[in-house]
């Protein structure tokens, strides 16, 4: 018996490979270097690896095809998401260091796990086969489960980790069930590009089986993107996990899940568009509404941002429902914009929280604008951006999403989305009101501006403003990326 190993190019998974190597090197250095002065350079090393991965992605931009026995796609859609993941991870690395040192947790494995999670995200975005997708998902999830429990002396961190692990495994089970049924319905294939044909002409059992499979896939993805009614874990996990990990989850995990979500649904089920659109419509409305309404009642800033992240998942689902080219573009654009504004906001949360997160209540932000003008202005900017006020990236993203929905004929969805924006305005505004219009309740004292967080705040604030005023270049990139979906 001979085993045929198909031809493959390591180059095709270059960015993921670079990050894997970086992560392994960090782990080895952490284990082998003498105690005492070993932790200093891990963030720099991670950033170096991320930069190399970004460069590799940049060099591959424009290529098109599949590799590894058609298990992964090599195309611009993949690369665009690589950029989002790399950006998200790099910003997370930069806000982490000071924060972790406060807890005495600036360990090598933290950075290694971040990088491994990023590799998982990349594989998810690239996957051309559902098993590949599942592998990527698990690589990412397991790393994030551990990260959420990083502060192992802190019961809330433990709770977060355990909750995420148990519910996450459960949702993975749903996803696998869905894939298994799909395998049966399609008569033995899970390649995304073969599925439409395979699902088209088969026995009468194929259709209900496919519908069931689609529903189960939606459950699995819905959990990862934190969409209602699969969102229950989000506030607890976001609150309990270390703030830097929360930022990473809100941005990276969500983007990765949406990357796979969109690819699978745009490619594999054209014949079932009407059915799944109906389901997603309901999910989108429920997610937006629950996220926004619950966020109003929160007094913990991390919980508020958790609900806000649920609401944003709802807006992104609107883009999926629209299922047209603009919808796909808006999905990509919004995820990038969301990465910038959300990481910026979490950067402020880390700076204000300080010293083991003692200032996480929203009322701790009272008077911030005049005690620390730059910090207050940055937070106000991110709040306005998250609320979707022009001229920020948040407005452009929402504008694209709603345009896509109108173009797709989903007027009521748009109206509900806009009304949700209005609700969200209230709680984002409350932070701004506290920052500028209420006297400080307690003297916040000096804030230690570490260079990493300062750089993140400056970069994200500039990015949010610039991509809001000149959205042209990013739109072109995103448009380039979604051309791979011929059916849209």
């Amino acid at each position: 018996m001979t085993i045929n190993i198909p031809i493959f190019h390591l180059n095709s998974i270059g960015p993921a490979l670079i990050l894997t190597v970086t992560a392994v090197v960090i782990l080895l250095l952490d284990a082998l270097s003498p105690k005492g002065r070993r932790k200093a350079f891990f963030p720099q090393l991670s950033l170096l690896g991320l930069a190399a991965a970004a460069l590799q992605t940049y060099l591959m931009w424009g290529s098109k095809g599949t590799d590894f026995a058609r298990m992964i796609y090599v195309d611009n859609y993949t690369f665009f998401f690589y950029f989002i993941f790399i950006l998200g991870t790099a910003l997370t690395v930069m806000i982490s260091r000071q924060y972790l040192e406060d807890y005495g947790k600036n360990m090598g494995e933290y950075y290694a796990l971040l990088l491994f999670a990023t590799v998982g995200m990349m594989l998810m975005a690239a996957s051309a086969h559902l098993i590949m997708l599942f592998l990527g998902l698990e690589v990412m999830s397991i790393a994030v489960y551990v990260l959420a429990g990083l502060f192992r002396e802190d019961p809330r961190s433990n709770e977060a980790s355990l909750k995420y692990l148990i519910l996450g495994s459960f949702s993975s089970g749903f996803l696998l069930f869905g894939m298994a049924m799909l395998y049966g319905a399609a008569g033995g294939t899970l390649y995304l590009d073969e599925l439409p044909k395979a699902l088209a002409g088969h026995s009468t059992f194929a259709q209900p089986l496919t519908l069931l499979a689609i529903a189960l896939l939606i459950v699995g993805f819905g959990f990862k993107v934190a969409s209602a009614p699969f969102h229950m874990w989000t506030p607890d996990v976001y609150e309990g996990a270390p703030t830097s990990v929360t930022a990473f989850m809100a941005v990276g995990v969500k983007a990765a899940a949406f990357a796979a979500f969109a690819r699978v649904f745009f490619l594999a089920f054209p014949a079932f568009r009407v059915d799944y659109t109906m389901l997603l419509w309901v999910l989108a409305v429920a997610t937006m509404t629950i996220g926004n309404v619950c966020a109003i009642a929160q007094t913990n800033i991390k919980r508020m941002l958790a609900y806000s992240s649920i609401a944003h998942a709802g807006y992104l689902l609107v883009a999926l429902v629209a299922a047209n080219q603009l919808g796909a573009v808006s999905l990509l654009y919004y995820l990038l914009a969301y990465t910038l504004m959300n990481l910026g906001a979490f950067g402020v949360v880390i700076l204000v929280g300080r010293k083991k997160d003692s200032y996480l209540n929203i009322y701790d932000y009272a008077g911030l604008g005049f005690q620390h003008p730059a910090l207050g202005a940055a937070m106000a900017l991110f709040m306005f951006a998250l609320a979707g006020m022009p001229p920020t990236a948040g407005f452009v993203g929402k504008f694209y999403i709603f345009s896509a929905a109108v173009q797709g004929g989903f007027i009521w969805l748009t109206i509900l989305g806009v009304m949700n924006s209005l609700i969200s305005m209230y709680y984002y505004l409350r932070i701004t009101v506290l920052i500028y219009m209420k006297p400080a309740e307690a003297d916040l004292g000096p804030v230690a501006f570490s260079p990493g967080v300062t750089a993140v705040l400056a970069a994200t604030a500039a990015g949010v403003m610039l991509s809001g005023i000149f959205p042209g270049a990013l739109y072109d990139l995103a448009m380039n990326a979604v051309k791979i979906f011929p059916g849209l």
Partner: protein
């Protein structure tokens, strides 16, 4: 055609200046003088437009005196296009003019966080100028939304006791309207694109759309109208205005009454009506009812006020309602009257708010109960107060009279009942304004206050406003001449669509 991008400079000069002012926050004195300098230069720049000898010329974006047009978001068809015609020229002039007073009136009244205050004042000026110049619907929407933010901070930080409530109410109210406008705007864009194959936000090109279907057009117009009615404000969506006015600092009230309210009428006239002419026809009775209703209702409520600032705020609603009546009747005379009345209202009401602010500085109260007998203590102040009150009432020879007469005459020709009702409404206005004058200036003083008459800064401000009030009242020709061409153009354009 002018190659020099003067319109862009007029928009971004105050915005850039605002950041300079913010950077100088350590020295309040420097901040004040810098802000005054920036406002004066802005005024000079706007005034320079009058010396350019501009002639209207046709472009693919419509007929303008000046047009600056660059690609902005190419694949969306959104352009950075600024158009100047007689109407926007007048309104931009009003913005630049009023803004000087906003700076001057805050000279002593604002004594904390001075840098941030003048930052927002100048920033607001820039966005308002941009709003009045935008010839692209998306660009307009951008400015429309941004202008909310400075006002929110002005009221919320430097306002009176209930300022946070007022600021949040203002923002949520305005935003709820404009978000619906956003949907309508996107829908119009998409439908126009489907019909013609050209995806564009250019207002002029959007007007060339074919019939959209009555229901669609009504819905779209309704969404636009909601946004603009909240800003104007028409009853029944006016309730944010008295609260915001009462809590706002004087400069905030001046900007709000003098400038922000004008954006609603301007947008209604410039965008909503020409874009949806059929729906406009159907909505005219609604607008007239809301207008006449508002005229009476606001005057009625104004009579019951005990706070001078609230009274002026309600008089504002009443005046704006008359302007809406003029717009709704839609002929050359009433349109000229309404647009002129926007300028007049901007001048007179701003002046009244400024004077209420001065009273507040002296008595630390705006209650009628503690006023009275001011004439004997502050004769110069009282003379000016009387002048602006009379102007607000529509005394012949002063500015409001011209606008009101044009609206009434124009209305009488087509809808005599409306004209008569409006006239009665105006008489109503006379009652509460006379009551205000009587309670403040005359009679016996009802409380002990240390009064001092106007100082040099205050006298200069009021004299300049009085001059403007008088010159429009006695010689409105040049202003009306400016308005004539754009109004004719717009009427012609609508007429080409073959409406009754």
């Amino acid at each position: 055609m002018l190659q020099f991008p003067i319109l862009t400079i007029i928009i971004f000069w105050p915005i850039l200046g605002s950041f300079v002012v913010l950077a100088a926050y350590r020295s309040p004195r420097l901040v004040r003088w810098l802000s005054l300098g920036i406002s004066l230069v802005e005024m000079a720049l706007v005034a320079a437009l009058f010396f350019l000898d501009l002639q209207p010329y046709a472009t693919p974006q419509g007929t303008w005196l000046l047009l600056e047009d660059y690609a902005w978001i190419p694949w969306l068809g959104a352009r950075y296009s600024l158009g100047l015609d007689g109407i926007s020229l007048l309104l931009v002039l009003l913005v630049a003019f009023i803004n000087i007073f906003s700076v001057l009136i805050s000279w002593k009244a604002i004594d904390f966080k001075v840098g941030s205050f003048f930052f927002w004042i100048l920033f607001l000026e820039g966005t308002l100028v941009g709003l009045f110049l935008a010839a692209d619907l998306l660009l307009f929407y951008l400015f429309w939304e941004i202008q909310i933010i400075p006002m929110f901070f002005l009221v919320g930080i430097w306002g009176h006791e209930n300022r946070i409530h007022a600021a949040v109410k203002f923002l949520l109210y305005t935003l709820s309207g404009s978000l619906f406008m956003l949907i309508a705007l996107i829908a119009l864009y998409v439908m126009h694109g489907h019909q013609t194959g050209i995806y564009t936000f250019s207002v002029y090109q959007l007007m060339q759309h074919g019939p959209l279907g009555t229901t669609t057009e009504i819905l779209l117009f309704g969404a636009f109208l909601l946004a603009f009615a909240i800003k104007i404000p028409l009853i029944p969506v006016h309730t944010w205005l008295p609260d915001t006015h009462t809590e706002a600092p004087t400069a905030g009230s001046v900007d709000l009454a003098g400038l922000l309210l004008k954006t609603g009428v301007y947008a209604l006239f410039r965008f909503a009506m020409p874009l949806f002419p059929y729906a406009t026809q159907l909505f005219i009775p609604v607008l007239l009812v809301l207008g006449v209703g508002g005229l009476f209702y606001a005057a009625w409520i104004a009579l019951a006020q005990t706070d001078i600032k609230r009274l002026v705020a309600y008089s504002s609603i009443s005046h704006m309602a008359l302007i809406v009546i003029g717009i709704a009747i839609w002929n050359v005379t009433t349109l000229s009257g309404s647009l002129l009345q926007m300028i007049n209202h901007g001048l007179s009401t701003s002046a009244l708010f400024i004077m209420v602010g001065m009273l507040d500085e002296r008595t630390h109260s705006r209650d009628f109960a503690v006023m009275g007998g001011i004439w004997s203590k502050m004769p110069v102040f009282s003379t000016f107060f009387l002048l602006f009150a009379l102007s607000s009432m529509g005394l012949p020879g002063l500015n409001n009279f011209v606008g009101e007469v044009l609206i009434l005459v124009g209305a009488f020709k087509v809808k005599p009942v409306i004209a008569i009702l409006s006239f009665v409404g105006i008489v109503f206005g006379v009652i509460y304004i006379l009551r205000m004058v009587q309670d403040c200036l005359f009679g016996q003083p009802r409380a002990e206050h240390v009064f001092w008459d106007l100082d040099f800064r205050e006298t200069v401000m009021l004299a300049a406003l009085a001059l403007a009030v008088l010159s429009i009242g006695l010689h409105p020709g040049p202003v009306l001449h400016l308005l004539d061409q754009p109004i004719q153009a717009m009427l012609q354009q609508i007429a080409q669509l073959g409406l009754p």
